[in-house]
Symmetry: C2
Subunit: 330 residues, 2 copies
Amino acid sequence: MKKVTIYEVAKEANVSLATVSRVINGSSIVKEETRKRVEDAINKLGYRPNAIAQGLALSRTTTVGLIIPSTSVSFSGRIINGLCDVAKIYDYSVFIHTITEGVMNVKEIIDEVIKSRVDGVIIYADKDLDDSVRLLEDYNIPMVVMGNKVSSDTICSVYVDYYRAVYELCNSYLDKGIEDIAILQDHRNDVVSQQFRNGAIAAFKEHGLEYNGYIEVSNDNRSTYKFLKSYFKTHRHQVFIANRDSQAMAALNAASGQGIIVPDDMELICMNESKYTSSVRPEISSFVVPQYDLGAISMRLMTKMLKEENVEEKEKCLDVLYSPKQTTKD
Amino acid sequence: MKKVTIYEVAKEANVSLATVSRVINGSSIVKEETRKRVEDAINKLGYRPNAIAQGLALSRTTTVGLIIPSTSVSFSGRIINGLCDVAKIYDYSVFIHTITEGVMNVKEIIDEVIKSRVDGVIIYADKDLDDSVRLLEDYNIPMVVMGNKVSSDTICSVYVDYYRAVYELCNSYLDKGIEDIAILQDHRNDVVSQQFRNGAIAAFKEHGLEYNGYIEVSNDNRSTYKFLKSYFKTHRHQVFIANRDSQAMAALNAASGQGIIVPDDMELICMNESKYTSSVRPEISSFVVPQYDLGAISMRLMTKMLKEENVEEKEKCLDVLYSPKQTTKD
DNA sequence: CTGAAAGCGCTAACAC
DNA sequence: GTGTTAGCGCTTTCAG
């Protein structure tokens, strides 16, 4: 099937290309009979409007760019699901750009994004924003940042309120007189780590205490288990908080290897529930993070910015939901 | 920063836009001095070529469409990582379209894809190809199918050889006289299920036996565990093969709930290793499926098709690697 | 080596 | 209601 243009449709339907354009876009009123004739021609020829040409003519591509770390793709794929579902509803297409260390740098991606003339950019950035991202501001490209709390004229953001989750969690333990609370963290998500830390600090401070239960590990999964295995030989805690599911599982295994009974000797909480946290025994008490919503709401926000609808809330906060299972006492 | 066009760069550099174009594309020879002048102008003005206009002029967008089920995004995100990494290397951008049941149908997506004038389409289809996909053939759009073995003039494919994996696995057990091998399957991946089944059938047949150890469950995770919990009350097997990690974990939990010791009473094998299969105790013996490669190789294949390089192998088969852990005896 | 001009397919005034 | 026409920003002959 050769590619058919608006011009051939016009000829087939015996109208001008302007009329065909009107039919395609429903932009202006066309006589019912003419419309029918055009639609028949379109179907007969299998015509599909050329989005590239439309983009050129309109200086608008109904396209958004998604920039997301590779690790987040494999770890939080549901973000993409939510984002794409909403994009589809509002008729946007999405360019996906993954950030893989070593393969490309952010600057190159931003260049690509600018060249592609997307209408807006959604970026997952739970670390501080790369400087080159600021380039998008210079170009006045609307932006939604996921996982970070920032905003400006052209920037909105959607983030998860880990601060409050940790704060409330710690508070509830402190109220019960339980003060030995350890938080395990790596350096993959600086912003999130910071929220954890601040939440704990705030809760402890409110109880007249200073928080110093922060444990840091390197980024590799295997080593988390190894690290904890030896860590638990010399350390005990009443409560142990892990960020990712795999870390919580590592903690569970490492603890039981050292004869620590969960939850009797130590309670364990994972900040990111997954289907795996309830696939182990005991099932791990976790916080449910709305990944899908994170993507969906970000995209929705983007459509609002692009339609210049009034965005009343430029920094949207998502709550997490606590789901106690078998690794906590109540 | 206002958007700057090739024309303004030309004026700034005191050349015609044709020359600027030549510099951008390195297409034709330009005098060193002129080139320098143009490059300075480009940098000074912060000029980024408009990919949309280029696309129109060239009838080529250096863009590919990726069509992938939502479930695969969250379950096999690494496919996307591999695909995007390779795309970046060859300077392609990728449009991602997820298939979420209820939100959109494949036909709409195909329409979108055709409108967007991508140079090629990569589709993850471990079920049989939807009819509307054939439309892409009509339009002569090169296609790479992941997870399925098909090819035609415009179609290549990359798939994982589960058949052989199951075949060899069954064979090795049968050789040892172990004949009670159960395979757990749902209906999410018809093609894969078929490969499993055929692999087992072939191995059994070779030993003069008929295979009938196929167990079917519904698609829901929770119910797999529930199902197996009651299943193991009345059934025992020497070997139990599960497809996904979560199913293997469910089997592990359900079996131990019924007093079945793994691997002593029953050996357990998962066909898709994940970081979780080794995060439970006992660690689950699994096959390592090269997800990243699946995406990477598919994209590489696409670049070859688009360059009209000779594609010697239109149906590329990827091997899985057996990684025995603690749920098998040796 | 460089410039002029046609054209990629479509939209949006502006006429009729 | 419908047609005409001037761009949108770039590539690519074809001249010079």
